[in-house]
């Protein structure tokens, strides 16, 4: 039996990788993948806790998250496509229209 | 049901108006005008069915709206609300008819006005504090756009100023409303009135002030009045009319309906300085109006002065003054509304408001001149026209509270003659000085149709005031009774000789 802490450590490592990728990488695709990584890190801890507590609600939440993530991926990729179309660049630092 | 119909019909017709394509502005104008006219006819039904001697609310309808918290769609009117609603419905078709010259975004303009009408009437008829607040804010939004989109020169500044001033007050009022709910677990006005002891402790003063400040900004009372000249000057004609004639009355109506009956002790305690502010406003508004170079600003400042009379009457705590105050609200609606309508007609011709731009207009426009003189006289309170009755009753009532109030307020009768006649003289009399004015056309049939009902109303209200007081007396008496007479005005009645009582 693998103790739950291992899952949690793996989840934390994945999450931190995601955060680091989000902050460091400039390519939009990579940033986007980092977000997915964070989501899945959270999913992992959800499942682990759910298994530990014998509460299947957690699994249901995970499915929700996955569905939303898929939808988000579809919308996000479409945005990225358009962005590339308009700016000929995938560098996040080139997009600063939200600036004051 | 009739009341609900009258109040909601304008909003519904605004929605209906949306279905007319924008390419047919004339159809939109006619439909909008027709809707306002139908609402007016229906509101006459209210007057017809109104029980004159009953003090309570009539045409009441009470539907649950939101369960938690307990908010009701609760409407009902007494004699005071009745006249204010009629004032609204009477002036709305006139204001729309005066807006035939609007050519940009006609549909939006007419829709907003109809929405405004619903909002304002809702304010006068709400018997649920939350609903009152909703209508209060609903009426704010259309006016904001009317000033901001169709206004003149500095319209955006004026619109934002108007919005922020009013918003600042209504935020306070919202807090007070929530506080009242916490104390009494109801938003219903009759229920709150029946259980005044639930919030009669030390917090009463704060609650009173929160409501009062919201209303005082709307009135507007000195020194919270500076939004008014800007808003009036920049608003389109119909906007100025509705703003002056009806929206300002929302403030004084709020004082009569909520400030006095809900918080009588606090009202009595704060009355002296409120009256002082009202008196300052009366004199100050008149003096500043005297030196305005702009006709619309002059009329706006005169509103500050006239509404000072209303506040004075409300806070004199007696029946005569209260009657006078309510009557003065209606008078001001008619007189100042009429003035703005007429000034708007001048603007349509020359696109200027500066007095110096004009001079000797009586030569090219004799009919317009005589109309203007008539409305001017009604505004300065000439007997047999409407302004006199309200002003005089307020003075009588105020003199019974304290004679010095009437002395100070009475000076406004001199000053109003000075500023209005001086303006009239500079704009209309003498030789024509500006070649641009030499060939101005006199009033068209449409413009006469706009002005004549207002003038007729001014005369009727001056001669046959009994018709107007009759449905109102019971309601004002009830407000005065609910409020009671605070200690500091009780002993002011002068000595009476024997045989002097009727």
């Amino acid at each position: 039996m693998i103790p739950v802490s291992w899952y949690l450590i793996l989840s934390a490592v994945l999450f931190v990788l995601g955060v680091a990728g989000f902050l460091i990488k400039r390519n939009v695709i990579t940033v986007f993948m980092s977000i997915e990584l964070m989501l899945n890190a959270v999913n992992l801890s959800f499942v682990a806790f759910g298994y530990m507590l014998g509460d299947y609600n957690a699994h249901i939440f995970v499915f929700f998250v996955m569905v939303v993530a898929a939808a988000e991926a579809a919308v996000g990729l479409a945005i990225i496509m358009l962005m590339y179309h308009n700016r000929k660049s995938l560098n996040v630092d080139d997009i600063e229209l939200l600036k004051f | 049901m009739l009341l609900t119909l009258v109040i909601l019909l304008p909003a519904v017709s605004a929605l209906a108006l949306l279905t007319i394509p924008s390419s047919q502005p004339e159809t939109i104008r006619r439909a909008g005008f027709a809707a306002a006219l139908i609402v007016f006819m229906l509101s006459l039904g209210l007057l017809w069915q109104f029980e004159s001697n009953a003090a309570g609310y009539q045409f009441e309808s009470d539907l649950p709206w939101i369960g938690i918290p307990d908010i009701h769609f609760h409407l009902g009117i007494d004699g005071i609300s009745l006249w204010l609603i009629l004032l609204t419905t009477f002036l709305m078709p006139i204001a729309l008819l005066a807006s035939w010259g609007i050519t940009e975004r006609v549909k939006a303009f007419f829709c907003l006005f109809l929405l405004l009408e619903t909002g304002m009437m809702g304010v006068f008829a709400s018997l649920d504090l939350f609903l009152f607040y909703v209508f209060w804010e609903v009426s704010l939004v259309p006016m904001y756009f009317i000033i901001g989109v169709w206004g003149h020169g500095r319209r955006v500044y004026a619109a934002i100023k108007f919005f922020l001033f009013t918003m600042a007050g209504s935020t306070l009022m919202l807090v007070a409303i929530v506080w009242l709910y916490r104390a009494a677990h109801t938003f219903s006005v009759p229920a709150l009135l029946a259980h005044r002891e639930l919030f009669s402790g030390p917090e009463q003063g704060w609650l009173f002030l929160a409501f009062f400040v919201a209303f005082a900004i709307k009135v507007p009372m000195f020194p919270l009045h500076t939004w008014l000249p800007d808003a009036h000057t920049e608003a389109p004609t119909a906007g100025s009319v509705m703003l002056a004639a009806v929206m300002l009355k929302m403030g004084t109506y709020g004082m009569v309906r909520f400030c006095l009956p809900l918080f009588p002790e606090a009202a009595g305690r704060h009355a002296p300085w409120i009256i002082a502010l009202a008196l300052i406003g009366i004199v100050y508004g008149a003096l500043v109006a005297m030196v305005q170079p702009n006709i619309k600003k002059l009329v706006a400042y005169s509103s500050v002065s006239h509404l000072g009379f209303v506040v004075l009457g409300v806070f004199a705590f007696n029946q005569i003054a209260m009657d006078g105050a309510v009557y003065q609200m209606l008078n001001h609606g008619i007189s100042t509304g009429g003035l703005f309508l007429l000034v708007g007609m001048l603007y349509d011709r020359r696109h200027r408001f500066e007095i110096a731009e004009y001079g000797g207009l009586s030569t090219p426009m004799p009919i317009y001149t005589s109309f203007f003189l008539f409305v001017t006289l009604s505004s300065i309170g000439l007997p047999l026209l409407n302004g006199f009755v309200g002003e005089f009753l307020v003075l009588v009532g105020a003199s019974q509270a304290r004679f010095v109030y009437s002395i100070i307020a009475g000076t406004a009768t001199i000053l109003s003659a000075v500023y209005m006649l001086w303006m009239y003289q500079r704009v209309f009399l003498g030789e024509n000085t500006n070649p641009a004015n030499a060939n101005l056309p006199d009033l068209s049939l449409r413009e006469k149709t706009v002005a004549i009902p207002v003038m007729a109303m001014a005369l009727i209200m001056g001669v046959a005031s009994g018709w107007f007081f009759k449905p109102m007396e019971a309601s004002t008496a009830r407000v005065v009774k609910q409020t009671g007479v605070p200690a500091h005005v009780k002993n002011a009645a002068p000595a009476t000789y024997e045989g002097g009582t009727r």
């Binding site: - | 009657d323 005089f392 000076t411």
Partner: protein
């Protein structure tokens, strides 16, 4: 007593009808039609008034015609109700009678003016308001007429609306009247507070029960405020300034409104309120003193004016002062008597002046006239009679009324006021005959004067009618001492209050009277000193005659005397010519300072700087704070992410800390 109530509403309704017809339809009608409507409505009103006089049994009890409710709020009620008693009967007769003659005159005088229909519409409207004023059954309705005649006066002074001086004069008249009306309004408020009503019946009854007031109390304040209103309307010091300027209006207007009727409304109101005034010795004293000051003051200005209408204007102010003097010394009926005779001869003087002005092609300066006696003989003759009347020469109308006022002043213990009034009588005779001699005697001093022609009969017939009235009008009030029977006083008796006995006791005790003369009880109707009264009449006649003689000497015998005198007393002459600089003083004191303070302090400083500054200050503070906070908004997604990270770490750290506790 009759049982039917007179239909009083017909009286004001007739001219109102005329005004409505001319106002709405007059523009397209012929002048004959307009003039016909205007004159016939007023004429009918006059006939109806005469009919009422003979049939309505005007006597001890007033007839009240209740028309409709007007205002009813709380405990306050005021109705449209008309009130007929001897006083209002008399006023109605004078107003409609003199008014009718002036209307007829005006159809000719104004025949060639633009806005003919407008003129008669206003004139009829004026008659409506004036009749409302005199017939009103309560103070509030009186106030309706009061303000209404003020409005018509405003409109008619500014009738030549292209002329700057005319429109400014109109506005001045209205505003100054409003100052008086302010006092009147306050008086009404106090009356309501004291008597609980504004109905004459209730008010008089309430005040009849009040004690005579020693010093200044409620009644005195009410009376003084009423007097303030009267000062505005009847052009008394210090509110007289509008009347001379009002001469900018057409001459018939000056005759009707600014001489015969409207300006006497103040006197009427004081007489109407006699039941109040007799309760306050102080107020009576003030009324008398104001009247006396005004009559001397205006007469001195009248001495040197050169514009024919201005002389008459100051003369009007001065004669109004007499009326107040009469009322103030307790002789209300004498005041009203003078009001009536003055209406006749002053209307005649103005209409005569109008005739002169027409003949002179609208030249009003007397310097350009002269020698008109032979050119316009009817005008001359009628004006001569009027001048004799106003100068107090028996048996003309002015003699009896003026004599009675002066006698009452002496008799009721006011020798100084008598002296003032007598001096004024001399000056009046002087300046009136100065006017007459400058205009009609000597050689013509201009081309217009050379070629003057008499006015047509539509103008001269009213002159003749008024001249007859100026001659015989005084005979109805011949005092008993002079062999008459004082009909007039008896007729008015039911309307006017008597000065109570305590009154003169008070006056004696307070020492207001420096000369100790026997002061019998004024109550008895029988004159106790016919000899003394006759003596005073003689003095008055001598004074008047010497004024005329002086004028004859200075302007006919030695025409250069006037110049010599004015050169010798140059300073005084300039002061008088410039009307004591009162207009200039008022302008600086009230107009300029008020507008300057309003503009610079109230509007620019308080409104725009302080209040708007505070409001804008709140706004800009909020903006500044926002401007600082928005620096966070860099636009870089990764910096936002970093903020989120910091925030999350911070939150975690906080939770751990909490947990550790």
């Amino acid at each position: 007593m009759e049982t039917t109530t007179p239909q009083l509403w017909i009286l004001p309704a007739l001219p109102l009808l005329g005004a409505a017809i001319n106002g709405f339809f007059g523009k397209r009608q012929s002048r004959a039609f307009i003039g016909g409507v205007a004159c016939s409505t007023v004429g009918l009103a006059f006939l109806y008034a005469v009919y009422l006089f003979f049939t309505a049994g005007v006597g001890d009890t007033p007839r009240i015609d209740y028309i409709a409710p007007w205002i009813s709020a709380g405990s306050f009620h005021a109705d449209f109700s008309l009130y007929l008693d001897p006083l209002s009967m008399l006023m109605t007769l004078v107003v409609t009678g003199v008014g009718f003659l002036i209307h007829v005159y005006a159809t000719e005088y104004m025949a060639h003016e633009d806005g003919f229909y407008r003129f008669f519409c206003y004139l009829n409207l004026f008659m409506f308001f004036m009749l409302t004023l005199v017939l009103a059954g309560n103070y509030l309705l009186l106030f309706v007429g009061w303000e209404g005649v003020g409005l018509c006066s405003y409109l008619l002074i500014g009738f030549y609306y292209l002329k700057q001086s005319a429109i400014i004069a109109g506005k001045k008249a209205f505003v100054v009247n409003r100052i008086g009306d302010f006092g009147f309004t306050l008086a009404m408020l106090l009356i309501i507070g004291t008597a609980g009503s504004l109905d004459y019946g209730t008010v008089f009854k309430a005040f009849q029960n009040a004690p005579v007031e020693n010093g200044v109390g409620a009644v005195t304040i009410i009376c003084l405020l009423l007097m303030m209103g009267a000062c505005g309307k009847s052009a008394q010091v210090p509110l007289y300034v509008w009347l001379p300027d009002a001469m900018e209006g057409p001459t018939p207007v000056s005759a009707l409104i600014h001489a015969a009727t409207m300006v006497t409304a103040g006197v009427y109101m004081v007489a109407r309120s006699s039941h109040l005034f007799v309760k306050s010795p102080v107020a009576m004293e003030v009324v008398a003193v104001i009247g006396c000051i005004t009559c001397i003051f205006a007469a001195t200005i009248g001495l040197v004016q050169t514009d024919i209408k201005r002389v008459l204007a100051y003369s009007t102010v001065s004669q109004l002062g007499y009326m107040f003097l009469g009322c103030g010394v307790g002789a209300f009926s004498a005041g009203v008597f003078h009001l009536m005779t003055h209406a006749f001869f002053k209307a005649l003087l103005f209409l005569g002046a109008g005739s002169v002005i027409t003949a002179m092609h609208h030249e009003q300066e007397m310097g350009a006239m002269g020698g008109l006696r032979k050119k316009i003989p009817t005008t001359f003759m009628t004006m001569l009679l009027a001048c004799l009347a106003i100068s107090g020469i028996p048996p003309f109308a002015g003699f009896f009324s003026k004599d009675e006022i002066l006698w009452s002043a002496w008799h009721n213990g006011h020798p100084w006021l008598w002296l003032g009034g007598s001096i004024t009588a001399g000056m009046t005779a002087f300046y009136m005959f100065r006017l007459l001699f400058l205009t009609f005697f000597g050689e013509p001093r201009s081309d217009h004067a050379q070629h003057a022609h008499e006015s047509p009969s539509t103008m001269t017939v009213p002159l003749i009618c008024l001249a007859v009235l100026s001659v015989i009008g005084g005979w109805i009030g011949v005092p008993k001492a002079l062999g008459g029977s004082a009909h007039f006083e008896h007729f008015l008796e039911p309307s006017l209050a008597r000065v109570p006995v305590e009154f003169s006791a008070y006056a004696r005790a307070s020492g207001s009277d420096p000369i100790d003369i026997p002061r019998p009880n004024p109550e008895p109707a029988e004159p106790e000193e016919p000899g003394a009264e006759r003596l005073f009449s003689l003095i008055a006649v001598v004074i008047g005659a010497s004024g005329i003689g002086l004028a004859y000497y200075a302007y006919v015998v030695k025409p250069e005397t006037g110049q010599k005198l004015s050169a010798q007393f140059h300073g005084a002459y300039r002061v008088l010519l410039n009307k004591y600089y009162v207009d200039e003083l008022y302008e600086v004191l009230f107009l300029k300072s008020t507008t300057a303070v309003s503009r610079e302090v109230l509007w620019h400083a308080v409104d725009e700087t302080v209040i708007d500054g505070a409001a804008n200050g709140v706004g800009s503070t909020a903006r500044a704070m926002g401007g600082f906070a928005r620096l966070m908004q860099s636009g870089f997604i990764r910096s936002y992410a970093a903020w989120v990270l910091f925030g999350a770490v911070g939150a975690l750290f906080y939770m751990i800390l909490q947990w550790a506790k």
